[in-house]
Every structure is written in C-alpha cells, then in structure tokens.
C-alpha cells in the first residue's frame, strides 16, 4: 500500500469516526487519536523519509491537505455538538409567554383633567393664556362685573353658596375674566384667555347635578373680533374634543354678560345627527354657551366698548365627559372609585 493510499484510508476512516462522535469528549478523543503526536498521520509522515525527493513534496502536500480536512471536520463536528448542547439547554429554558407580565405602578389622570388639558393645549396653540382665579370670589367679580347687579332676575338661575353677603363660592370661572380685563394692557396686544377651574352651585347632588363641577371659560377681546370668529373658534373646539365630522350650530340664548348670546349644539355623536334618545330626536346636543361680550361688562372693567369688543364662551368638562363616554351619573367624577378612574387611560 502506498503512502498516499494509506493517507486516503486514514482520511476516510477519520471522517467516519468524527461523524460517529456523540459528544465533545468523543470529538476530543478522535482529534487526539487522529492528529496527535502519536497518531497515525504523524506516523505516516514519519515514513516520508523513505520517499524519493521528487515524491516527497507531493505526498507532503497531500498529507497536509488530509490533516487540514480532518481538522476542519473536527471543528465542524465540535460546533454542531456545541449547538446541540446549547439548543437543548435553551429548549429546557422555554417559558409560557402567555403568562401575564409583572405589574408596574401606573396611575391615570382624572378624566375631567384629561379634557381640561386637551382644551388648554388647543387654546395654548392658538395663542391664549391660561388663567385660573380664586374659587372663593367676591360678589362683585362673580356677578356685578358680569352684568348681574344685585337684583338681577338671572341670579335666581344660579343658586349660589354665599359665605358672607359679599363673599361666595364662584358659580363660574368668568370672574377671572373680569379681573383680567381690569388689568390687561391692550397696547401690548389682544386679550386671549381661557380660565379653567372648579365652580360651585347650590344644588342637591343627584345623577345630573353636582354642587361642585368644572368650567372652562374663554375670552377674546380686541378691536376687530366678530361673531363669525366665535363660530369658527367653537367649531375648532368641537372638532378637537369630538372629532372632525361634528358640526356646530348656534341658537339664540340668554346670558346677562353677553349680547348676542347663543347656545352651541354639536352633532349628536350617538346617532350622527339622525335623531335618537340621547339627543331627544333632534340630532343635536347642547354643549356650551357663548356670545359677544356685553358692552356693560367691558365698560365696568374700564375697557371702551366703542373701541374693543369680543367673544366669550363657557364649556363644562363634566358634561363633555358625560356625553363623550356616556357616563350616566355626574357624582362618579367626585367619588373616585378606582374602577371608574382606571377606565380613562390617557392615550398618547
């Protein structure tokens, strides 16, 4: 048998043994037995001395080839076996990915707060300031400066919690408008503000009445503000709160502090305007009151109604939330059942 044939045979036998090796220990043994110093390949190479000078490099090259081949096969087998071990280990580590995740602490903003923030952000973007005045107000700012003198019949419309004859729990957030109008410097630009906050009425709490609720009132005063601007602004507000497909319509109404006064209705979101129980078959839902600021209000605050004018509006976030989510009892907003609060996850 020639040296070359021997090497070929060694090669084939070696590959077979490598293939047969079942674990890393086997692989190691095969490596030692094939390629070790006392292994057959070393043995064969030692026999090269007997070859003639012409043959020697050829066989030498062939032997190296065989050795490299076997080394590569060993490495490959080792990797295969290592992977198998790792895969077995990983398979063992498999978990039920459908088990629930570990709870983390996460609280939610109150639904009314979410609506107020949404309204604030909208008007901030349109260049309004946010101003919140005192909750305990003077009769002067809550009523008189709002064109509701002491004997005005409309005072009966808003039953008021008085503390003394002149001090009361504000029934609206518009007193802040009067306070701001008094101090605003129109040479610095128009007055554009919203005043969000808690207000109080002398009501017995029931599903549709609460002695405490929220209001956001808006006011814009400048030299050239129109009722069309009011309509456009309310449209933007309705679209922000309810969605673009909602229409706004204005109806005549009465507030002592605005003239003309309007109520704004939006398309009934329950029926989309076709008429249903929620909207009493009108297709519309009343959402806010508004109007052009009454000249008396401006005059009382020291603003010349012949030069300046503008609009005011007032919205009730409680009512919005009730309409938007179908909340059937206003008291839910103030009892703070966590099961209720948690339903209004802040989106985004």
């Amino acid at each position: 048998m020639s040296l070359k044939d021997k090497l070929t045979e060694l090669h084939d036998r070696g590959l077979a043994e490598i293939k047969k090796s079942a674990d890393l220990k086997d692989v190691n043994q095969v490596r030692v037995s094939l390629l070790g110093k006392k292994g057959p390949i070393t043995e064969v190479l030692r026999g090269m001395r007997d070859l003639d000078a012409e043959e020697r490099p050829k066989v030498g090259a062939f032997a190296n080839e065989i050795r490299d081949d076997l080394t590569a096969a060993l490495a490959k087998r080792r990797e295969e076996l290592e992977n198998a071990v790792l895969n077995a280990k990983l398979a063992n580590e498999a978990i039920d990915v459908t088990l629930p995740g570990t709870p983390v602490a996460k609280g939610e903003p109150h639904v009314i707060q979410q609506i107020i923030d949404q309204i604030e952000d909208l008007f901030l973007g349109m260049g309004y300031q946010v101003l919140s005045g005192p909750e305990v107000e003077e009769d002067k700012y809550n009523f008189e400066m709002m064109n509701l003198p002491k004997n005005h019949p409309a005072r009966d419309m808003q039953d008021t919690f008085y503390i003394t004859k002149e001090i009361l729990m504000r029934t609206q957030t518009s007193p802040m408008q009067a306070r701001t109008l008094e101090t605003h410097d129109f040479s610095q630009g128009p007055l554009k503000m919203i005043s969000p906050g808690v207000v109080y009425r002398r009501d017995t709490d029931d599903p549709t009445h609460s002695h405490q609720f929220h209001q956001v009132e808006g006011l814009v005063i400048d030299k050239h503000i129109t009722m069309a601007d009011l309509k456009g602004t309310l449209q933007v507000l309705a679209h922000e709160l309810f969605g673009d497909k909602f229409d706004v319509r204005l109806r005549p109404s009465y507030f002592p502090f605005t003239e003309p006064s309007v109520e704004a209705d939006i398309t009934c979101f329950n029926c989309g305007g076709k008429g249903c129980k929620v909207c009493k078959n009108t297709g519309w839902i009343e959402v806010l009151g508004a109007g052009m600021v009454h000249p008396n209000v401006l005059r009382m605050a020291g603003v010349d109604p012949d030069v300046y004018g503008g609009f005011a509006f007032g919205v009730g976030p409680d009512r919005f939330a009730m309409l938007k989510y179908g909340v059937d009892d206003i008291r839910n907003f103030y009892l703070n059942d966590v099961r209720f609060l948690k339903q209004f996850t802040k989106k985004g």
Binding site: G107, D229, K231, R249, S253, L335, N336, L341
Partner: protein, 802 residues
Amino acid sequence: MKISYNWIKEYLDLNVKPADLAEKIERTSVEVDDVIKPSDGLKKIVVGHVLSVEAHPDSDHLHICQVDVGEDEPLQIVCGAPNIAKDQKVIVALPGSRIADNVKIKKSKMRGVPSAGMICALQEIGFPEDVVPKAYADGIYVMPADATPGDAVYDYLGMNDSLIDLDVTPNRGDMLSLYGTLHDLSAIYDLPVKFDQPAVKETGAAIADQLTVHADAALAPQYRMRLVKQVKLAPSPMWLQIRLWNAGYRPINNVVDITNYIMLKYGQPLHAFDYDKFSGQDVYVRTAKAGEKLTTLDEGEHDLDDHDIVIADDQKPIALAGVMGGLDTAIADGTVTVAIEAAVFEHDHIRKAAQRHNLHTDASQRFERGVNQAGVQEALDAAAEMMTDLAGGEVQAGTVVATDNVPAPAVITITMSHINAVLGTELSQDQVTHILTTLGCEVTADGETLTVTVPVRRNDIHIPADLLEEIARIYSYDELPATLPTGRMTMGELTTAQKLMRATRHSLEGLGLNQAISYALTTEDKAKMFMMQASETTKLAWPMSVDHAVLRMNIITGLLDDIAYNSARKVKDVALYEQGRVFYREDGVDRPNEQEHIAGAITGTLLPTAWDLPAQPVDFYQVKGIVAAYLKDMAVNGDVTYVANHDMPEMHPGRTADILVHGHRIGFMGQVHPTIAKQFKIGATYVFELNLQAIIDMPKQENQYDVISRYPAITRDVAMLVDDDITNEQIVALIEKRGGAFLQSVKLFDVYDGVKVPKGKKSLAYTLTYQDKHATLVDDAVTQAFEKVEKRLQDDLGAEIR
C-alpha cells in the same frame, strides 16, 4: 309655556309641520322642550252613547252598561265610575284599543260579567291630573251631547293639536303669550299676522260711580279695572276649555277661564274679583302693613309685611299683587259682578314676593319678566267683551285708571358698518331694515346710520348689541361664516406654576397614583383635620347639607373619603393623589387665602398582587420613596429631610415624619392614626400632603454635567450593632463627615432588628464606595479611611462593628 299649533295657524298662514315649526322656533328665538300631540299613542278610542245602565249583580259599585259605539250592536261594558248615567256621551276605549301609558284594552269579564272595552276618564287617555275639570276629576268624562257615537274622540277634545312647549329665557317675557310668539314668527317666516281686537259693548252705567282705584306709580306703573255685572257663571264652551287644558290650565268657570285665556293670548295677567265682596267702592294698591294677613286662592295663609304689594279694599288686603288673588273676593258660586284688574306691577317686588311666599305663579312669572305695557287696556277690553259674550255680562261704561305710565319706546341708533363688523357679515342696509321692520321696529336711515324705534312689548331691547342679536337670529346663525380671530399675534404658554402643576401630576401618575378630584366642601370636622398651619374655618352661610358646609383645610380627608367609598365597594387596593386648593382664613378676614396642595393616600398594595408578585402591603418606606422621587422630579434645590413627628393627632405617633426642604417644613407623611382610620371605616392607610405652592416657589436645580471618573471604584461594607434610638440619618451623616476625600456614596443595604440581635439594639449594614476622579485609588488609602470611619462609629455612636 305650551303653545298650540292650531291656535297659531288661526292667525298665521303657515305651511310647516309642527315639528318643523318647533325646530325653527328653537333655532331662531327660544328653546323648545318638547312637541306633544296628545292623541299620539292612543288607538281606537271613540264616542259612546250610554243606552242603559244596570247595577252589577255581584258588586255594589259596578254598573253594566249598553253603549252605542256607532256599530250595529251596542257593546256591553262594565263601568265602575260613580257618575255614569244613561244617555251620556262618553269616551269608550274599544277592545283592542290603546289608552295612556301604552296600556292595551282587551275584552274581559268583571265579576263574571263580560265587558267589551272601557269607559274612560280623561286621565286614562293621557290628560294630566291638574287640567281635568273638577266635575270629572273622580269619574268618567261626559262628552258634549252632540258628539256622534263611533267617532274618534280626539277632535272633540282637541287632542289632534300639537303643543309646542317653549322654555322661555328670562329676557324674552314677550314669548309667554300667543301674540308675542306670533310677532316673532311673523319676522321668522316673513309673513303678516291677522291680529284681532274686539270692540267692547259697554251696556252698563258709568264705572266711575261704582268703583275708584288708587295706586302708587312706583308699585304699579299701570293699574286699571273694568266692571262687568250680571254675569252667569257656567262651564266655558268646549273650544275654550280645549285651549286651556292644552296649555296646561284646568277649566274652572267661564269668568276665571276668560282671565286665563286672555293671559295666554296677550301675555297680560288679569285678576277677576267678586266686586260684591269688596268693602266699600275703593280699591288701593299699596304696600302691606306689618301684621296684615291674606289667605290666597290656593287657601295658603300669608303673613304680609311692607315688602309686599297688596290690592286692598277699605278694610284689608284682597290680593297679593301680581302673584295671586285672595280667597275672600274670589269668583265663586253666586258671583254676579266681576271687577277685572289689568295692571303692571314693579317686577322686583313681584320676584321677591313670589320667592318670599313661595308662590311662583304664571302671573308672577310674567310680571317678573315684564308684560307688554302698551297692551294692558287691549287685554282688559278683550276680557270684558268675552264676559259679555260667554257669561252674558253687562260691561259698565269706561275703565277706572289709577296709574297709566306707558314707557316710551326705545330708540337706538346703529350703523351698518358696526353691524357687519361685529357679526362678521356683509348684510345690506335693505336686509337689515327688512328684518327689523318685520320685528315691528320702525327704521329710518341717514346714510348708513339707522335709527330704530323698538316696540314697547320688546322690553329686552335697549342697546345696539340687543339689535345685533335680533338681526343675527332672524338672518340665521347658520348663515354666519366661521372664521378665527385675526390681529396681533399672542404667545400661548403655561406659566412656571402651571407647568409645575402639570409636572406634579405626571410624576405622581408615573409613580402609580391615580388622580382623584374630591369635594372641597366638607364637614367642619374633616375640614379641620391634618392641618399644616393654624387657620380659622370658612363656612357656607346656607349649606345644602352638613356634609358640604365648610371649606377644606387639607386634601387628605377627601382622599380618605374616597378610600372609604372604594372600601365599601370591596376595592381594597387604592392609590390616589389629588392636586387642589385648601382654604386658610385669618380671624377677622372674610375671604380665605387659597393655597395649592398636593396629597396622596395609599391603602392595600400599590402594585396589584400577581402570580409572580406576592402581596406587598404599602408601608411608610414605600410612600417615602414616592415622595422622594416626586421631589427629585421637581428638582427641588436643597436637602430634603424627614423628621419624626409624634404629635399630629390624626397620624400614627411612631410612623409620621415632617418633610423639610432646607430645614423648611413643606408637608408631612406617614400612617393615618388607626383611630382615625376606624372613624373613616378604612384599613391601614399611608398618606402625604405637601404645600405645592411652597414647592412652586422654591429655587430649582439646573441640570449640570459632571465627568464620570475613568478610574475604578473600591467598595467596603460595614455592619454594626447600635442602640435602637440611633437613626440611619445619624449614621450616614457621621460616615459622610468622617469618610475622607474619596468617599463617593454610602448605601444602606441591610437592617435587622430580629431575634438574633440583643434587645434594644439593631443591626445596620452599609456599603461605602470610594473613588478618586484623577487617579487609581490605592487599596491602603481606602483601608486607612475606612478604619477611621469604623473608629468614629464606635466612639461617637457606640456602634459595635461586626
């Protein structure tokens, strides 16, 4: 105010359905609460002729009736009404019919006798109890004798009319009448109205010889009376009864019905007195004298005082002016001479009288809002004429008049450019003039300046802005363009305080607390708990209930109420925060100072228990972690320290700490005292409350960059036994003070106070981290520094290093 569609159609050539008319009114003048057609929902209800009535053999109150309902054979109907009688025309609900409240009537047997249908009372076909004529209140209704058996009853009873229920705003008193509504509709639809005004046939003697009236113009700007003799009281004709009950009034007799009818038609409240019951021939409008009393028509007794305007004869008050007449001079059986009063009373007095005596009547409602002061005599004349017509009365010649102050019409100038500038429209002068004219105004123009004379009945129009509203609503708000304000730009930005309040809420939500909004008005007891500073209470003068009577001076009690509410509903894990105001008041000052606070309350577990998360009931340190993280979020500049407070009455004496920033107390935290928790019916609860205003006002840290050392850190652990009263803060302070230049941080990693340490001692263990920013630390240097600290711990705190 319910207004009849059919009645409107008598005056106005309208071609719209009732629902569309209602919609138009709502869009253009006042709100509409409802449109009702009384016959809606009723079925197979017809006129019956009672042919015979026999007693039921097995009942002492039932009757067996044979009733002709226009069919070949009469129906046998068992009827229990006490007023059933032969030959009556009655309301029959046939078998298969539907009566009020969607009740279906079927053939049945009553005590063994077959009954094919039901003979109905008005209430049973949907009439409200308070409009049914008294004669039929407790029995069946008897129809007019000429009603045809088998005909549906609806037209006989006015039930096919549509009634539009107007919710009239306080400024539109003119809409509280048919005529007022017609004026508005005339403008809305641009149609003429055919108003009628009857002439009075004065057949009697001169009234001036029989009656004199006296009034103070400040109380009654107008006061007039007519006298009608020889009236014959009787039920009103059917058409009049229908008008009244459809408007919500009970028909009483022709004289009283006429006064109500005229009020509905003209908006002018009238009062009919029995003239023969007057003492003397003089009638006075005056303020009441202290001690005077009056029994009103509704038999209510009223103590009067000088705030009340009364109508009086020689002796005593006979009516509470503008509110309700007196019982003594009321129209009653035997009345033959009627004095009809038509007046205008000062509205403020009337409003207050109605409130004081709790008598809100249709008359007071109209006087409060103002009646048509130019139409008082017309209404009076129309009433007198109807009393001739319907009660055979003789109207005495003339009207006695005490005061006659009809206000001058308002005259307003307004320019076209102002109208279009405020409304954002491009209306022409013709359009505007036309709108105002259809509303009854007289308009003269001088260039673009209009001079508008407003009819007296529109007492809500005084200034140009009032005219703008009239123009805008009749033109239609739908036609207004929708634009946004233009003009100088303004910045919209939250203030620093507003930003911090938002950041506060976001921070606490991120830390697991849900935002609560509780009531700021609470009980006096709760208002005064958990006080952070001395303050007087602020109380409502007239609270609705003791539960909401005093302004809170803490936020926590509201949160504890919320926890109690949850707890009562078996929700045991509650984590809430609230941002809001507390109200501190100084003695002698009426108005409290409002301070922003932030508070939290946690009961049960903060994190929900789960398969991989065992229950971890909230404790002091968890809440402290939240407070600390929140204050860090707010970048409060200065050391935050926690000092045990054993003295807050509502807090656990051993588990409460004051929270100080730079030595300044900004709040407290800890466990609610178990006695207080029990009082609120809640379990163990941990709370905190901070003065948010103080946090807003504090200086804040700026972010700054500090080089991260490239050189390795070395750590050393120290465990020690110390006396129980040595605090972590003392130990850390000492280590930090004596730790040497390279000490970077001290971290507590173990606290043990169990059986393995001697009584009165506890074991604490800390990791000290050393690092040199500029070089690699030498182990020896650390050891040296560390040993120095160990020694100080032993010497200064008596620590036993383990």
